[in-house]
Symmetry: C2
């Protein structure tokens, strides 16, 4: 790189070094995101609750937490409540390090009192009253709730309220009245594409309970695997699962575990498409003769049930009857998505059937299938739910429409009287940052729905599709982002401050690991394994500021099947890089209000210097660790971006506009760095581009207001392009409006 601005001169190096020395002297770390927290402690009323309660009022005083902290239960109590209180107290012990008295003491004198009015529904219900009140006042903490589930929700809030300072741990004075905005707050876990052991499901359930989610949507069959033990049709798991399936005892244990935490389990057995794993053992169910093998790739596959044969419905009837005994929830998800219709089109008998019945097309045939399915489900006491492809004329009104394609279908369905659940916008497998999901509201103010229509919007579900997750990585794909989504489903509509969400998310993320979740710790574990060494500091500099490519592009970057190891660098890094976010914020701050941003400039300079100087150490690591070979171009990119950042800072500091050639060279670096490598990307490249163009536009700074100049720089860096998009398309773009996206990666 040509040295136009002299940023690599000894003097510039000296300046950068001084920055580092200052940082050393202050005891701070150089790594981005590792600055001492500047947010206030809880003492001043700042809280870390997530989801944020409906109503909250700080009160006076505090109640210290110590080894003599006790808990009592007044009013109704049952085994579920007692077990929940006990779990909470064990977590409080783990967090504080104190050993407290086991069991319950007299509620009149206990530190914490649970006042519960009744058990609530015997089977967790979509209509459960989950409200609660939490009061920390005087000498007692009171959790009041009409149901056990409400009390459990209140206990989670109580644990989040716990604060600490030099005087110790305490409950700060507060009055909370809380209840959920939506009654359906779910997480879909796809155990079909990659199996997730029972222990994984249990820890996800604990995480869900901690952020007040109440539905585990359990996606149990897929082209890539049939994950349930059927005693009626044992070839389903024997031939369709590679041995990775839940025994019926496992499923009962999961349902019980979820119920203990006030979480419903809604099973999904996707049909008539996505059924390859079924027809390996039972090819007679398919619309083409077979034989079939378990799918190993990803995408939409041809196999579909034959909706024209009575034996298909008999099979389903028997199977649903068997499973209905295991899953007590009244809802039953039939999938119903992405049937490509190829097998139906190619089958003369099916075509004749359609003609005979006057069915016009595949949509019509699927509606016929669904109507038959509905009768079976009703017989077994189940209410049908399916992906929004099933929203076709003739769909029975009691069906719940689950929208993955956008809000429009949901609102259209609501207008026609269908209940609906939103997942479009909550596809956490797409690797987008929490902020993007957080911005999506199941029922925005401008939905155009009447109050009666709006009541049909039951809530939403985050969807953890399983193409790219293993038991070691699924936690980091679900958490902590899903906590932000949980807040969207629970908290009032106007809770939308992104910075505040991230502030609270950081702490919630650490607390979630108390539950056995591994989303933070497994990152370093995977990095150490990749490097084959304990010292991964150079690798961490890179890993801290990259993110997985978004959407379904990983499949085009890495050839993959369900059998491939998910131990690559992309599997180790966060979907939501705090380091990258901070760099973006610092540059934006610098360009928006340079004089006030002196501290940010020093921080940026230290960060850029670290990037620039990281290359040698990282390359040495890579040379010894072939599993990191794919990171080599990223190491070069990061060093180039560091040098570029220093150049641009120096240019701004010198108040001299660089030459056009300087800009062009740097734009070339940025363009190169913007291309994903190893299925990873630098999320701050567009902002660095603005920094470069800011340096170019210095002369204009005096001619306009800071805000105008900021806008001018943004426009310079992002000229209109084909398609008209500009700016960092990863934020606030239209992806999650009603623009169709692939439900899952196309093969």
């Amino acid at each position: 790189m040509t040295n136009v601005m002299g940023a690599d001169s000894p003097r510039a190096i000296w300046a950068a070094s001084v920055t580092l020395l200052i940082a050393i002297a202050a005891g701070t770390s150089f790594s981005v995101g590792a600055q001492p927290q500047v947010t206030a402690t809880a003492g001043d009323g700042t809280h870390w609750l997530m989801p944020q309660p409906a109503q909250m009022k700080p009160g006076p005083g505090r109640i210290p937490i110590s080894t003599t902290t006790t808990v009592g239960v007044s009013g109704f109590s049952d085994d579920r409540l007692r077990a929940g209180v006990d779990r909470m107290m064990r977590r409080l012990e783990g967090r504080t390090g104190y050993t407290m008295t086991r069991g319950f003491t007299d509620p009149a004198t206990a530190t914490i009192v649970i006042e519960c009015q009744g058990p609530g529904a015997a089977v967790p219900s979509v209509n459960e009253d989950e409200s609660y009140g939490l009061t920390v006042s005087g000498a007692q903490v009171r959790v009041q709730a009409p149901t056990v589930v409400g009390a459990l929700r209140g206990l989670e809030t109580m644990l989040q309220v716990v604060s600490g300072d030099v005087e110790g741990f305490y409950f700060p004075g507060v009055q909370i009245q809380d209840r959920p905005r939506f009654k359906w707050r779910g997480l879909l876990i796809d155990a079909g594409r990659h199996f997730e052991p029972v222990a994984v499901i249990k820890r996800e359930l604990d995480g869900m309970a901690a952020v007040k989610l109440n539905v585990l949507h359990f996606h149990l069959s897929e082209d890539q695997g049939f994950r349930v033990e059927s005693l009626k049709y044992p070839k389903l798991q024997q031939m369709g699962s590679d041995g990775d399936y839940y025994r019926q005892t496992d499923l009962r244990e999961i349902v019980e575990y979820a119920g203990q935490r006030g979480i419903r389990v809604v099973p999904e057995f996707d049909m008539p498409g996505h059924v390859t794993s079924w027809v390996v053992g039972y090819p007679e169910l398919a619309s083409a003769p077979g034989p079939y093998a378990i799918a190993r790739g990803f995408g939409v596959f041809d196999p579909a049930f034959d909706p024209t044969r009575e034996t298909t419905y008999k099979f389903i009837d028997t199977f649903v009857g068997e499973m209905a005994k295991i899953f007590p929830d009244p809802y039953w998800h039939i999938g119903g998505d992405e049937n490509n219709g190829k097998q139906w089109a190619a089958n003369a008998k099916i075509q004749a059937f359609m003609k005979d019945k006057g069915i016009a097309d595949a949509h019509g045939l699927q509606t016929y299938f669904n109507q038959r399915l509905l009768v079976i489900l009703k017989k077994h006491g189940k209410q049908m739910m399916g992906w929004d492809e099933i929203f076709q004329p003739g769909l029975p009104k009691e069906t719940v429409v689950h929208s993955w394609r956008g809000q429009k279908s949901l609102f259209d369905a609501a207008k026609q009287g269908y209940d609906g659940v939103l997942s479009a916008g909550y596809y956490i497998d797409l690797m987008n940052p929490a902020a993007q999901h957080y911005a999506v509201d199941p029922l925005p103010a401008n939905s155009g729905l009447t109050e009666a229509e709006a009541a049909h919007i039951l809530g939403g579900e985050a969807t953890m599709w399983g193409e790219w997750v293993s038991p070691d990585t699924i936690d980091s794909r679900i958490w902590p982002r899903t906590a932000a989504i949980a807040e969207r489903f629970w908290s009032p509509r106007d809770v939308t401050d992104v910075d505040d969400m991230y502030r609270r998310l950081e702490r919630v993320s650490i607390q979630l690991e108390e539950l056995g979740l591994t989303h933070e710790r497994n990152s370093e574990m995977l990095l150490r394994r990749l490097a084959g060494a304990r010292d991964i500091s150079a690798l961490q500099v890179l890993a801290d500021v990259v993110e997985p490519v978004k959407g379904y592009t990983r499949g085009s970057q890495q050839r993959w099947t369900t059998l491939g190891p998910l131990t690559h660098l992309v599997d180790a890094v966060s979907t939501d890089s705090a380091g990258a976010r901070q760099v973006r914020q610092l540059i934006d701050g610098l360009l928006s209000d340079a004089p006030r941003f002196a501290a940010g400039r020093e921080h940026l300079r230290a960060t850029f210097t670290e990037w620039r100087d990281n290359r040698h150490a990282l390359d040495v690591l890579i040379a010894r660790a072939p599993a990191l070979k794919e990171a080599a171009p990223l190491s070069a990119d990061l060093a180039d971006l560091g040098a570029l950042g220093l150049d641009a800072l120096a240019a701004l500091a010198l108040n001299a506009t660089p030459l056009d050639a300087w800009r062009d060279e740097r734009v070339a670096v940025l363009d190169r760095a913007a291309r994903p490598k190893a299925a990873l990307e630098f999320p701050f490249v567009p902002m660095l581009r603005e920094l470069v163009f800011g340096a170019m536009a210095q002369a204009e700074m005096k001619t306009m207001s800071v805000a105008d100049w900021r806008a001018r720089v943004r426009a310079l860096a992002n000229p209109p392009r084909r398609g008209g998009r500009s700016g960092d398309a990863r934020f606030g773009d239209a992806r999650f409006g009603d623009v169709p996206v692939f439900h899952r990666p196309v093969r």
Copy 2:
């Protein structure tokens, strides 16, 4: 602290800063233990095998590993072998990131060929032939073994042989002929004091298999908990376990899982002492009327079975009969330790019984009990094993003596024809570094045993007693140290190079996490939880150089019961601090050969500076996180020790002997820092003392050889004291000779 030597002068700070800048420019990290590896890569013949094979010869060439790497099985194969090969290939995929072909290909053309001669014993046997050969030569990797277990051992070695460089992953040319030195290589897991879920036991078994251990000694009952489901006597688990016990299906699953990996499971049901949890439900078994409650503290408790009542033996007979069906191994551990005899002494009926039978004392009564027990065990096909208290006159010859008190009892027993297993020296719960355990040999060259007598030494067992471990921390207490112990049990006697052991241990430790073990990753997780923050860099500086107090002193530092949370700082840090070890080595190197140690001096200076300057950031963290409050004095100590180290370095560099007052002040700092806080200690304090005395003795440096001067400094720093001990008592002391230690902490 008075500034005698001017080490805090601007010039000194500048010098230290330059060191840091150099380190920055080189892309290295400042944290101790985080230097780039200076050891050679595998290409030059250096290997990372642990345990080291009996015979190993590097050969020419290499076989690259790629997506086309295949495996074939020739000769004998069964489900166990095929499953083992499949597990190995999945691990190879995980490590390389490659997706390889599943299943087996033609062994004539496969990259890896397994040549197995037969199945070996149907139930894993103490006499199993575990030998194997591993040859990487030409185009094929060959694993040859007489038994499936031998092949599994060879596959583990093959995975450890895998190397990598810029050209990629490969098997380096090598010829290995290997077999274990001892046939009994065990790990005791005490699930009595703290329950460990099935998933924990399974991952420990995987770790054991990776380092070729072959016995899980499963300690299943204790005063603090009865951990097995009995259908015959259900009150055992119902009243004695707090609900934390293994169902019989769990136990069968564990035994099966172990057997798949060639690991025997030897159950221990400790009696006649350590039986409090039994007598909660069945007080009639005890020698005093009761009632009893599960023990919550630690130590030796009074309850003991009543050996005078026939109903006791009927109970044991029925119970052993039930358990014998679950544990197929012919060995059965009866415990037999630490019966304090108080209940027997206080029971008039028992005293009368003894008089009647001519039994002189409690030892005699216990021998009587053991003889009765032996008959019961024989009836159920079991061979008796017990702790070395049972080695009393009259002990049946077929009993295996398990020595926890020292090698003497083992050798004495061997001379009398008893088989023996050594655990004295392998008490990993004592928190000693790996080097200390590594130095203990079950059969040292000077044992004084004849060849025939020596054959009675079956091997050894590391013992993970459960007072201070939870499912979150047990891995870091077992691993990686137990890998070094496993090497002691497997490898030739002359494999004793401690530095080389640590070099290999670092890599093995990372590889062990591939198996789901959490010993590395949970440390950071616990630190983040303690801090309640993601940025734990200041805390890490401290955590990296402290170790838990050794022996049973934690109990005297922290009041504790089985119900207390194991989430303190002491639970998060390694038992074997690499950072502390490095500082010790650097100081020792500096004092031993100062001129050659210029690099070490710079490194030390950077480390000391980091310690000195860490205090503010750490104190800020502590002020916000009450769970870290106990670390505050350690933060102060570390800063003082850093300043002290810089002072001493400066004194040496200036070649001027400090005043006696300077020394006295520093000795006071060292004495203060040497006192444990928060159950933690700085393991390098004695070596820092030598640095201070080295600075004092500079004038003498010219009057003698470097070696003599080094010895002189050591002597100055460690004057003879009461008891005659000198030096760093933590290494090479007599603790693990025949000096009695408490088997477990005294209450």
